[in-house]
């Protein structure tokens, strides 16, 4: 096994780890692993990363379900309505200057990060095993 494949595999582990810890797909790490270390083009990397994301999210969701942390109905409604959003997003991306979009989204995620930190600061320490808090 070449060093490049080994690095790609290690980054894939990190992407999966991030996915399990914070509930994202891991594409942020899978795409560079596929483009830089495997040598795929950007489009091929992003597309192949989608396949990895599906597998990772499926296993991750199954594990979380076993821990009592999956609301399947909510997940399905969110997932089913996303294609409409993707369509809108693609149109917006072509009509609005990319830089303006990047900067406004950066401001938005920083605001959300601030909200999460403030919330975590105030919240009582809910340590322990996963339980379904909301239904």
């Amino acid at each position: 096994m070449s060093t490049d494949v080994l690095f790609a595999a290690l980054i894939a582990v990190a992407g999966g780890l991030a996915g399990g810890l914070v509930g994202v797909g891991g594409g942020v790490l899978f795409v560079p692993a596929l483009t830089i270390f495997i040598g795929l083009s950007q489009v091929e990397g992003e597309s192949t990363s989608l396949l990895m994301i599906v597998i990772v999210a499926l296993v991750g969701a199954a594990r979380q379900n076993a821990y009592g942390n999956l609301n399947l109905r909510d997940a399905l409604v969110i997932g089913a309505l996303s294609p409409l959003g993707v369509l809108i997003g693609v149109i917006v991306a072509n009509e609005v200057p990319q830089r303006a979009l990047e900067l406004s989204f950066a401001a938005l995620v920083l605001f959300v990060a601030y909200g999460l930190v403030r919330r975590a600061w105030r919240a009582p320490d809910q340590a322990g095993q996963g339980r379904r808090e909301t239904e």
């Binding site: 495997i38 396949l51 994301i53 979380q64 969110i78 309505l81 996303s82 993707v86 995620v109 909301t134």
Partner: protein, 121 residues
């Protein structure tokens, strides 16, 4: 008429789609905080449910890219999915053993990383 809850969920799905359509980022960045702030989900339930939604979102994207454009390298993807699955099994196991607010803080770190990437690129 769909309930207010369903409308909110539909809004989350649409917003997640919009952001992934614009930036190619996964929907998780949008789904997790909105489930926490709008529905009062605990962090673990929010991240678990987000993964469930991502299965569907990613599947639709992968089918479109693979089926229509042939851009998916299936063998490479499946091979690299093995270590990635190892990671997600470890990640979910670790997540059950840390305080929920630590998950929020990790998520905030991820968002700051995303913001930096958007600003400098």
């Amino acid at each position: 008429m769909p309930s207010e809850r369903t409308l909110k969920l539909a809004t989350i799905g649409t917003l997640a789609g919009i952001f992934s359509g614009i930036f190619g980022v996964g929907g998780g960045t949008v789904i997790v905080p909105l489930l926490i702030f709008w529905f009062g989900y605990g962090e673990r339930l929010a991240t678990g449910t987000s993964l469930g939604a991502i299965v569907l979102i990613g599947l639709l994207g992968a089918i479109a890219q693979g089926g229509f454009y042939g851009n998916v390298h299936v063998g490479t993807g499946l091979l690299l999915a093995i270590p990635a699955v190892l990671g997600v099994v470890m990640g979910t196991a670790i997540q059950q053993r840390i305080p929920q607010r630590a998950v929020s803080l990790l998520f905030a770190v991820l968002l700051v990383g995303v913001a930096i990437e958007l600003i400098v690129k």
